[in-house]
């Protein structure tokens, strides 16, 4: 029992469990026997089994007595709390009940996938969900501010002005994520270089010449764009799996909202001024 009380689900038990259970028990036991705590042989047998499963031995008489006391104490406290109406104005119980109901609504089985044609039509009507963003491929020369202090930008500018030599790979410093980057969206550039760099890179004109310098979270870079692909909508056949997943999410969301609406519809709502 004591080990059980240390288990990670004790929160579940305390917040949701005891109090929520109280509500159910209120109807089954309390109403018909206001001031009697019934302890049936089945209940004690159940408690003993739990004890045995947890301790891997049968409970002794002293253990049985302890279980009985704990059970009676719990019942008495819970019943008294209910008698005083403590459950009725308790935020935790209210939230827990609402949450439980929400789970039941959410748990409805997955909506059935529509036939391919219908799905394709839906995809055509919702292109924004599937559009691929612009990507850029580029090479860069990195100049670390380390050991260059305030001259790093000037150095990059003069390197560019003098013309980048054929062996551009040997210029500047090594960059930890590499020198060449292929078909990256702006968000992907952000992950290696930071936000400011990504924005500036995607603002560079589409030219085969070396450009810059632009700053990153690490230092200064000269850039040569090697490819720019405008945003586009992939063909349905190529991304059917993705369309199915997005459709399913959407259908579930709609279904849940509908179920919730229906539920609210069962009530007359009065908002007092």
């Amino acid at each position: 029992m004591t080990r059980f009380l240390r288990e990670p689900f004790v929160h579940f038990v305390l917040l949701g469990g005891l109090l929520f259970a109280g509500h159910a028990l209120w109807q089954t036991h309390v109403t018909k026997s206001d001031r009697t705590i019934f302890v049936s042989p089945e209940e004690m047998e159940r408690q003993a089994q739990i004890f045995a499963a947890e301790n891997r031995r049968q409970p002794s008489d002293a253990d049985i007595e302890g279980l009985l006391f704990a059970h009676i104490e719990e019942q008495a406290l819970m019943r008294e709390a209910q008698r005083l109406g403590l459950d009725e104005d308790d935020t935790i119980i209210r939230r827990r009940l609402a949450q439980k109901m929400r789970f039941m609504i959410d748990d409805v089985s997955a909506p059935e996938m529509p036939p391919r044609d219908e799905l394709k039509l839906w995809y055509e009507n919702n292109p924004a969900r599937f559009i691929r963003p612009e990507t850029r491929s580029f090479e860069h020369i990195f100049l670390s501010p380390k050991n260059r202090a305030d001259t790093v930008v000037a150095e990059a500018e003069s390197l560019l002005k003098a013309g980048i030599p054929e062996n551009w790979e040997a210029q500047g410093d090594a960059f930890i994520s590499g020198r060449e980057f292929s078909t990256l969206a702006q968000t992907a550039v952000q992950r290696d270089f930071g936000t400011a760099f990504a924005e500036k890179l995607f603002a560079l004109p589409n030219s085969p010449d070396w450009q810059g310098p632009i700053n990153s979270a690490f230092g200064v870079h000269l850039i040569r764009l090697t490819g720019v692909t405008a945003e586009y909508l992939p063909k349905f056949g190529d991304i059917q799996v993705e369309v199915e997943a997005v459709w399913l999410d959407e259908a579930k969301r709609v279904e849940n909202t509908e179920a919730l609406k229906k539920l609210i519809g069962k009530y007359r709502v009065e908002v007092q001024e």
Binding site: R6, V13, E54
Partner: protein, 641 residues
């Protein structure tokens, strides 16, 4: 040893059948196993291919509703949700809020549900399944059951079965587990997008010993995640087949012979009660050459940072390492018994491995390092600033995980603290990442990276880290093709080289553009003498242009701090990038050693501080308000020629 011989016999038949029809190595992605239809593994390179390797960030430890201990906490998300979340889509937490990656999508990911009773709880809760007629199902999910206390108590019967490795009559439905597993394999195949998102078929082998504590319930965590490269067998091997990890390795060896390459990744050695990196076998026997080579073959990497704490080292093992006390969690699973320290942490294990190598010829603990989440809600909480812990409804709110005072209180004075929040959840850590250096984002390339241990772990930020050892010359640092030179002059992290003089290393780290600036790079050396495991911690690169003190081997404090009124970092101190070449000043001729890098960020707010800040409450007085996030490289081993 207790093993299900019926199941083993069945495997034997299955595996030999596979072997007969298995095509040759060159086209091994097609075989008679589950999910053979898969994007082809041709020699065609994906966009972003880099012969000098890119770093990919992923998570190889995530649970869904198919795990018995997730479903019971209201988790209803599926393996498909794991892959959607990894790709950047939002999911719903069992407590009702939305979870979404704050940073970029993951590059690789695996759903790793517990193999034992995989998919059984959802079936017990499904009136159309015969399992719902089982006595235990009625007690847990029956229409008349409304008392969660009873539900959870009955659920513990399943937990107990997993702990003992003894199946429950009528619930251990092998056919259902097989179907669930095959479904998981197919889902991983379906979401595999070479060049974009690599998924692996995987599951968790959930072995735990018992016998500790007054009731004998607590014991050492010997959990492993079993990860398949390109294809997987139709049946998994769980703790219900055998609770002895050595039997798992036998099964993996057979599975590999049948064409399914596989590795297993131990995790939470920190709560293994000293058993994960023991000096004896599971049964207490002598570790011999067969054991060491089998272990090394099957377990090339270890998950050493996740929600349930870090396993690098413990302050008691490393009294001279002032950064050792980092997200330490040391209570045996679901108990308040403190795990034995010796044998539970990787730094000491590296030294133990060298001792075992002397005795057997192979180092069983020559492993690389990764981090992961161990999320049970299909999505990892990697960001301190956006944290949802691990389990489900029990730790889904700040109050339930003990970062804000209970009952809506604003202060921690005179409140009654919840013991589970206090002892467990509040000490848990935001999720870690697995980082792998690989040519491209494909199953083959990333799996190779893991086999070669060119991997590292982070505590959450995407710090970039390179580490090379060998004949490193300081001139290399100024060279634009430093990486090419380093590869040709030495070995990368995870490698080994022989030397008769003091070894030199290149250590190079860059910040996560979304994270804090870097404080320093350290190199940690682990070796073994007659007196036992030895260690030394060297600061090798300091921020702000400072140099380590030659006496103390430490960088000066760079002065970075955090404003606790809003968690904003101080400005000025810290570097975006640090790199250095370092030669071991204390090298002794003839020694063998393991060297690994630890990179430290400037301090930032811990998740518990963000929770309190968002709720407008006092910070928990006993939790560290800030932490120094970090990355740990796989070691490089040296030996005399």
């Amino acid at each position: 040893m207790r093993i299900n011989w019926m199941a083993s016999a069945a495997f034997g038949v299955l595996l030999s059948a596979c072997a007969d029809t298995a095509p040759d190595k060159a086209s091994e992605t097609k075989n008679s196993s589950v999910g053979a239809e898969r994007p082809s593994q041709t020699t065609q390179k994906t966009p972003g291919y880099n012969a000098n390797k890119n770093v990919y960030f992923g998570d190889l430890h995530i649970h869904t509703k198919n795990s018995f201990d997730a479903y019971i906490f209201n988790v209803r998300t599926t393996p498909a949700d794991v892959y959607r979340f990894a790709a950047g889509q939002p999911l719903k937490h069992p407590s009702g809020f939305e979870m979404k990656l704050a940073g970029p999508p993951l590059d690789f990911v695996a759903a790793t549900d517990h193999g034992a009773y995989m998919g059984v709880l959802p079936a017990m809760d499904n009136p159309e399944s015969p399992l719902s007629d089982h006595e235990l199902a009625k007690k847990m999910f029956g229409a008349d059951v409304s008392d969660p206390t009873a539900i959870i108590r009955n659920f513990q019967t399943i937990g107990h079965s997993v702990r003992t490795g003894k199946p429950i009559e009528g619930l251990y439905d092998r056919a259902l587990i097989d179907r669930t597993w095959q479904g998981a394999v197919q889902t991983a195949d379906k979401y595999y997008a070479p060049g974009k998102l690599t998924t692996f078929a995987a599951y968790e082998y959930t072995a735990v010993t018992s016998g500790r504590g007054a009731d004998g319930f607590a014991g050492g965590n010997l959990h492993r995640n079993v990860v398949f490269e390109n294809s997987a067998p139709e049946r998994l091997f769980s703790v219900l087949d055998s609770p002895n990890p050595e039997d798992l390795w036998d099964w993996m060896d057979n599975t590999r012979s049948a064409g399914h390459d596989v590795l297993s990744i131990p995790h939470n050695s920190n709560v293994s009660d000293g058993e994960m990196f023991d000096m004896v076998t599971f049964g207490g026997g002598v570790i011999d050459a067969d054991y060491t080579s089998q272990r090394l073959r099957n377990e090339p990497i270890v998950e050493m940072a996740q929600v349930k704490g870090t396993s690098e080292t413990h302050p008691a093992l490393s009294p001279n390492d002032e950064f050792a006390s980092f997200e330490i969690y040391d209570q045996l699973l679901a108990s308040n018994i403190v795990s034995k320290i010796n044998g539970s942490y990787i730094r000491e294990a590296l030294a133990r491995g060298l001792a075992l190598e002397e005795a057997t010829g192979t180092n069983p603990y020559a492993f690389g390092l990764i981090g992961s989440s161990d999320s049970h809600v299909a999505g990892g909480a990697y960001d301190e600033q956006d944290y949802w812990s691990k389990v489900g409804v029990v730790d889904g709110t700040a109050e339930s995980r003990g970062s804000v005072p209970p009952g809506g209180a604003k202060s921690w004075e005179n409140v009654e603290r919840d013991p589970n929040a206090e002892n467990w959840f509040s000490k848990w850590s935001a999720a870690g990442y697995a980082a792998v250096w690989a040519e491209e984002n494909t199953r083959t390339s990333i799996f190779n990276g893991m086999r070669q241990k060119e991997t590292y772990a982070t505590s959450g930020p995407r710090i970039r880290l390179r580490f090379f050892g060998g004949n490193m010359n300081a001139d290399i640092l100024a060279s634009a093709n430093m990486v090419e030179q380093a590869y040709s002059a030495g070995v990368p992290m995870g490698g080994k080289f022989k030397t008769d003089s003091a070894p030199s290393f290149l250590a190079w780290a860059a910040r996560d553009p979304r994270g804090a600036l870097l404080d320093r790079i350290q190199i940690i050396k682990s070796w073994h003498t007659a007196e036992g495991p030895q260690e030394a911690v060297y600061d090798v690169a300091c921020s702000g242009g400072a140099s380590p003190d030659p006496e103390t081997r430490r960088c000066p404090n760079n002065g970075a701090s955090v404003d606790l009124s809003n968690c904003a970092p101080s400005s000025g101190a810290g570097d975006a990038e640090l790199k250095t070449v370092w030669t071991d000043p204390d090298y002794t001729a003839g020694e063998s050693a393991a060297y690994y890098v630890r990179v430290l960020e400037n301090p930032t707010c811990r998740w518990s501080s963000w929770d309190a800040l968002n709720a407008g409450t006092e910070f928990h007085p006993d939790l560290p308000p800030t932490l120094k996030e970090r990355a740990w490289s796989s070691p490089i081993w040296t030996a005399s020629k």
